[in-house]
């Protein structure tokens, strides 16, 4: 093998290495993105609740003017009526708050649905902790059934003072055509 051929071979190995690295990097970007969003609260991705977070949030109960707004949306032509009991409420900052939502299946077939939440503005989302929530869980709505579900959430005491309103938006989606994603619904 000539000097030159050896050089070419070496370059090839190095470039293949770079290529493999970039493929791994691309695949890694997906979970990294989720972690990034969760840590920063970007994109309204809600945070996982653990005990430490709960204690920290509860530490300082206070009354301050904050508006919690609820938005409900129905995805992709689903024959469901989805309502929030209240359009908005004044929550206790640093304490537990409660509200209700109702789903009504307006068709004559059973439906399997899932509700996906989003919080805005992003800087608020690390401070809105959901203790009891129907979000991400698969839910059966029988034909014509009307169902009431509760939401219990906590507004962290460390919510920045300049945040005057937080929007919690829920979209209900059909599950039927996305069977393989159940395990992602771990929140």
């Amino acid at each position: 093998m000539s000097e030159q051929q050896r050089g070419v071979r070496k370059t090839l190995w190095q470039l293949s290495g770079l290529l493999v690295l970039m493929v791994i990097f691309t695949i890694a970007l997906v979970p990294l993105y989720d972690v990034f969003c969760e840590v920063t609260g970007l994109n309204g991705k809600p945070r996982r609740v653990d005990d430490a977070a709960l204690q920290a949030a509860l530490s300082r109960s206070q009354q301050r003017p904050l508006q919690m707004q609820f938005v409900t949306r129905v995805g992709q032509g689903l024959p469901v009526q989805f309502r929030s009991q209240q359009a908005a409420q004044r929550p206790v900052v640093g304490g537990r708050n409660q509200t209700h939502f109702t789903f009504e299946n307006q068709s004559d077939t059973d439906l399997l649905v899932r509700t996906v939440p989003s919080i805005s503005p992003p800087e608020a989302s690390p401070h809105i902790l959901k203790i009891e929530c129907f979000c991400f869980q698969e839910m059966v709505l029988k034909a014509g059934e009307k169902k009431q579900v509760g939401l219990m959430y906590l507004v962290g005491a460390k919510l920045p003072d300049h945040v005057a309103a937080v929007t919690l938006s829920y979209t209900v989606y059909p599950v039927a055509d996305a069977p393989a994603v159940a395990e992602e619904a771990s929140l």
Partner: protein
């Protein structure tokens, strides 16, 4: 000596010869011809679009077909015309400029070329499939390209995969050639700027093509296997698609411009009869553009709801990238300064490149201003911006390169009078087409629509007229090339008085096999960076 290295058996004749060729010049020609064909296919689609937009209202085609035309036009021009043209020029000229007998991996070279007709045959065939071809824009945002896409989308994904593999293999070949096949004595800082810009471009390709492959694979999984990478219903995120796409997409736009910088950096000194001003700063500027290009992708996504900190970061990084770009423009102008300039056709196209690319760069800086981009985003202003950098930018540089090297390829000068006619019609046509788009965009006309409000009618009529002038004048390019292959004024080995570089030491036309013995290269005398 020539005899020893000649192949023992006759090369296959007829079309088999082209199918099996491993010669860098023949493969270069194949790439260039393929790109020329795609330029016309994509161009016809552009003219269909402009014909429909000539007047408000729907006259000629249906919105569904209009969307397929905008999508296909973008995909074909980016992946089928501009990129293969640069690879073709690289195949022809890099071995000649570094004194190598061929590319490092000749058989791989053949394979990378023949992947392209397969990829684009497949892509074009989707137009005749049920539900039509891709209709979601060349940026194929999910979920438009997944949940709401036509059934042919899986074929679209396959064709992107094949074209991507072709690009990666081509890039690997180019890097291996440049690193290992330079004639003895030629250091990296002695290489022509075309070789340098291509080296850096090839690294960009190896780095971002896997990201493109990854993102289309995720689409494929979302469409066919029920995953939810980009599907909010399943816990996925459509914005993730945009991050991944533009992480590929922004470096991709530099892939389409860096080799153009290289071509212009050769042509300007040749016809100004001066050495290039600031060779080293050109190399460093190219490298900084390439590195910075990984840190600006979200300037395409200012309106998706990025947090303020991210908007500021991407705004400043984008503006920063204009600095090395400005260095290049400055160096070209400094090269022209006090040169004894003559205006042959390659020089005309190169000068037009400098002016018009700068216009595109300036509208780019306008788009980089976040609050302004809220207004401009997804309007014709963006269309004006990227067409200025890509058509009178990248495409003009390719055409300049073709006129510049045609004497070397064919042994004849291209017709000067036809070339000048081609140039002036192209300049007039291109500016008539794209300049009014700045105004229709600022006035609020959205991009990718088959019909528009009446107040945009005048601008659109001018754009359409310009587009037909520009499109039809490219037939002159065909004629010039055809005639130059057939005959004309014979060209000597060095057809341009002020030209420098090893490619001009071989006869014109360049024989099939060159530099079987490495040429003598003395950096003191031959290097473009010599003192």
């Amino acid at each position: 000596m020539q005899m020893q290295t000649e192949h023992a058996h006759e090369p296959p004749r007829g079309w088999m010869r082209w199918l099996l060729t491993t010669n860098h010049k023949e493969i270069g020609s194949l790439y260039l011809l393929f790109s020329l064909a795609m330029l016309f296919v994509g161009g016809i689609m552009a003219l269909i679009i402009r014909a429909e937009l000539f007047q408000p209202g729907l006259q000629l085609i249906q919105p569904e077909f209009f969307n397929q035309m905008t999508t296909m036009h973008g995909l074909i021009m980016v992946f089928g015309a501009v990129m293969p043209a640069f690879v073709g020029l690289a195949n022809w000229m890099i071995p000649l400029q570094i004194g190598a007998p061929d590319m490092a991996l000749p058989r791989l070279n053949n394979f990378s070329f023949w992947l392209l007709p397969i990829a684009f045959g497949l892509l074009l065939s989707t137009l005749w499939m049920e539900g039509g071809g891709p209709n979601f824009g060349w940026t194929f945002y999910a979920p438009l390209s997944t949940t709401y896409a036509p059934p042919s989308t899986s074929f679209f994904i396959l064709s992107i995969h094949i074209a991507g593999i072709s690009s990666i293999l081509g890039a690997i070949n180019i890097i291996a050639t440049i690193f290992n096949m330079r004639t003895p004595g030629m250091r990296l800082m002695d290489m022509s700027l075309f070789v340098w810009t291509w080296l850096i471009t090839a690294f960009l390709l190896v780095a971002v093509m896997p990201v493109l492959a990854g993102v289309v694979t995720m689409m494929l999984l979302d469409i066919n296997f029920g995953t939810s990478f980009f599907n909010a219903a399943g816990g996925g995120d459509p914005v993730l698609f945009q991050h991944l796409f533009w992480f590929f997409g922004h470096p991709e736009v530099y892939i389409m411009i860096l080799p153009a910088f290289g071509i212009v950096s050769l042509i300007v000194p040749t016809f100004a009869r001066k050495r290039l001003f600031g060779y080293r700063s050109m190399v460093y500027a190219t490298a900084s553009i390439a590195i910075l290009s990984f840190t600006v992708w979200a300037h395409h996504m200012f309106t998706v709801g990025l947090p303020l900190a991210a908007q500021l970061f991407f705004m400043y990084m984008t503006m920063l990238i204009a600095v090395p770009t400005g260095v290049k423009v400055f160096n070209w102008i400094a090269t022209l300064f006090r040169g004894s300039i003559s205006f042959e056709v390659p020089m005309l196209f190169a000068l037009a490149f400098i002016v018009q690319f700068t216009i595109g760069g300036l509208s780019g800086v306008m788009l980089a201003i976040v609050p302004a981009d809220y207004q401009y985003h997804d309007t014709y202003f963006v269309v004006a911006h990227f067409h200025y950098v890509l058509v009178p930018g990248a495409l003009f540089a390719i055409i300049a390169g073709v006129y510049y090297w045609l004497p070397k390829w064919t042994g004849f000068y291209p017709s000067e009078s036809l070339g000048k006619l081609h140039f002036w019609l192209s300049v007039i046509g291109v500016n008539l087409t794209f300049f009014p788009m700045h105004f229709s965009g600022l006035a609020g006309m959205p991009r990718r629509i088959p019909d528009y409000a009446l107040q945009f009618a005048d601008f659109n009529m001018v754009s359409s007229l310009g587009a037909f002038i520009f499109g039809l004048s490219q037939i002159l390019l065909l004629i010039v090339i055809y005639r130059c292959v057939k005959g004309g004024k014979p060209a000597p080995a060095k057809p341009w008085e002020g030209a420098e570089g090893l490619e001009w030491t071989v006869p014109s036309p360049a024989p099939l096999h060159t530099f079987e013995q490495p040429p003598v290269f003395d950096p003191q005398r031959d290097s473009p960076s010599r003192a």
